[in-house]
Symmetry: C2
Subunit: 341 residues, 2 copies
């Protein structure tokens, strides 16, 4: 396995204490490389970054219209939400509209991702339910699609269920790859996830944000999904999260979505490019740092939206920082020329 360059450095005092390697691809809808740093052909699991694609059958099947899902419900179906009561209640509302409740979900329960949501839940003395799972909206949308199409809703999360076969068709069709069992793993919420080269993942997002080469019906579905996420950025993640903060400030100009294990992907409609990045070690602090470096370089208005990551001791003394490494800095300088020049 080729060694990827260091993208992010974590300093302490005068030294670099830890490093995060990874790869970044920025490509056009036709697949032309605008930036390629590290091994962008290595297959990566997109994880939650592809929730917008997993949501396409909900729109294209007519299920979203049938159940009266608006921007809020569609945004939640594309979300890795932080488990606020607002998120959990909206997922419950989506299920209630189907005549179901949280027991129909197969995503499993976990503590809210957001620390304030987690503290509030613990303080209330309640245990987390499946509604607090960051994927509860996605799962409610999958169940809605099955129900609308007259399919059994039991086992909707299984790779052989029509719900997941449709997701497979979307991803396989857009990537041009077979996406067989040899690249299939289960996500934390138990639905299948297919690994694909990082550059291919970036291309999927280039097509998502430009609509390039998509048939009219799919283009309308994509537009509806993007509009929903840009209209309800608090539902896509939660307060303080980079994707929420950036998309609230710059709707229509940046679409971005993180995935577990150090994945981040998205696109820039006005530049006509998509991107995908993966941190080799799967660390969120590194993917969060790398994506903001990329976003700020391509869209200067994003600068300052997320604070520089200073590391402080527990008594508040600055002890280090999380910063972009020289290889990433140099690549971003080349990117300027590629996009502008």
């Amino acid at each position: 396995m080729q060694s990827n360059p260091v993208l992010i450095e974590v300093t302490r005092g005068p030294l670099v204490e830890s490093v995060h390697k990874g790869a970044i691809a920025v490509v056009t809808p036709a697949g032309a490389s605008v930036l390629s740093l590290g091994d962008v052909q290595r297959p990566v699991f997109p994880r939650s970054s592809i929730k917008a694609f997993q949501c396409l059958p909900l729109i294209e099947s007519g299920a979203a219209d049938h159940y009266g899902f608006g921007d809020a419900e569609i945004a939640l179906a594309c979300a890795s939400h932080t488990g606020l009561e607002r998120h959990a209640q909206l997922a419950a509302h989506m299920l209630a509209g189907l005549g179901l409740d949280e027991h129909a979900l197969g995503c499993g329960a976990h503590m809210p991702l957001g620390s304030s949501a987690m503290k509030a839940l613990i303080r209330s003395g309640r245990e987390p339910s499946q509604l607090h799972n960051n994927c509860s909206g996605k799962h409610a949308g999958m169940i809605a699609t099955a129900l609308h199409l007259g399919e059994p809703i039991e086992g909707y999360f299984d790779a052989r269920h029509p719900v997941q076969r449709r997701v497979h068709e979307v991803l396989s069709g857009l990537s041009g790859l077979p996406l067989g069992d040899d690249v299939m793993g289960l996500d934390g919420c138990s639905v299948p996830n297919w690994a694909m080269p990082l550059a291919t993942l970036a291309r999927l997002f280039a097509r998502l944000v430009t609509g390039a080469g998509l048939p009219p019906e799919r283009r309308r579905a994509v537009d509806r999904i993007l509009k929903a996420c840009w209209s309800e950025p608090e539902l896509v993640a939660g307060p303080g999260r980079a994707d929420t903060v950036v998309m609230r400030k710059l709707p229509g100009r940046i679409y971005m979505k993180p995935g577990a294990e150090g994945v981040y992907a998205g696109g820039f409609p006005e530049h006509g490019v998509g991107f995908a990045l993966k941190i080799d070690d799967g660390t969120t602090r590194a993917s969060a740092g790398a994506v903001m470096a990329l976003v700020e370089r391509i869209v200067p208005e994003a600068r300052g939206l997320m604070a520089r990551k200073v590391l402080k001791s527990w008594r508040g003394i600055e002890v280090g920082e999380i910063r972009t490494a020289p290889a990433l800095e140099r690549a971003l300088e080349r990117l300027d020329t590629a996009l502008v020049g």
Copy 2:
């Protein structure tokens, strides 16, 4: 910077999803290499792994005797505890014995490291205090030393304070390195920490667990510290933590202590070797996996004490695992020969 080998792999379905690189050194008290994997000359901050060394002045100054500190107090002074009430109350008790309370501490407050301790604290409606800081025992011990020696206790955490100068003398003396400001950073609890080559850190632990080359007084102090940690392993970390579990089962045979940013160090008295490892990306899941692979290879009785790290989806399906990488497996096979043959 030379690239270190992959020590730990994280799989999902049929693929390796994330990797953790790092270095491991196993050395004798004289500094002879028994195992060297990766760049063991690169300086690393030992972080909390060196708490036993930071505790030496507490014993050698006579402060521990003066204040009647027994195994429990000494173990807590060497701990990164999980913030259980038992831990917090013992730290408070140590301070009360000095006529002080938690406000004398300079470590800062953070949520208990242990999830059950954290939940219990949140449920009680209280905020974390400095007593819940995983370093509260170490800080109480540092304050005790200053008080016993008639030094001001204000600013005891500052690198220029006699308390920290003594720690510097211990580490500089044992390592034979100047440990100047060019390798000094502040730890999360605001006390200075000095980076040293990984192999040097391993040698410090070889001397700690064998007493080799130490003057009689220091040897007695070291013995007292190790006995305290082996007698009170729940105070050194907390239930379920690898160091607590292993040292409770195998006292006298293994001393081990983690540090932040993927550091683990310790030693094996009967084999007469010390070890230190550092994960490049600073991830705990990787240092925990690597240290158990090493410990289980050197002391077979440790096998099975910590469960194999299976990754499960939130509904309980096995989706992957955290496993030792081929380079680490091969190195551990060579280690067998080196230690036994």
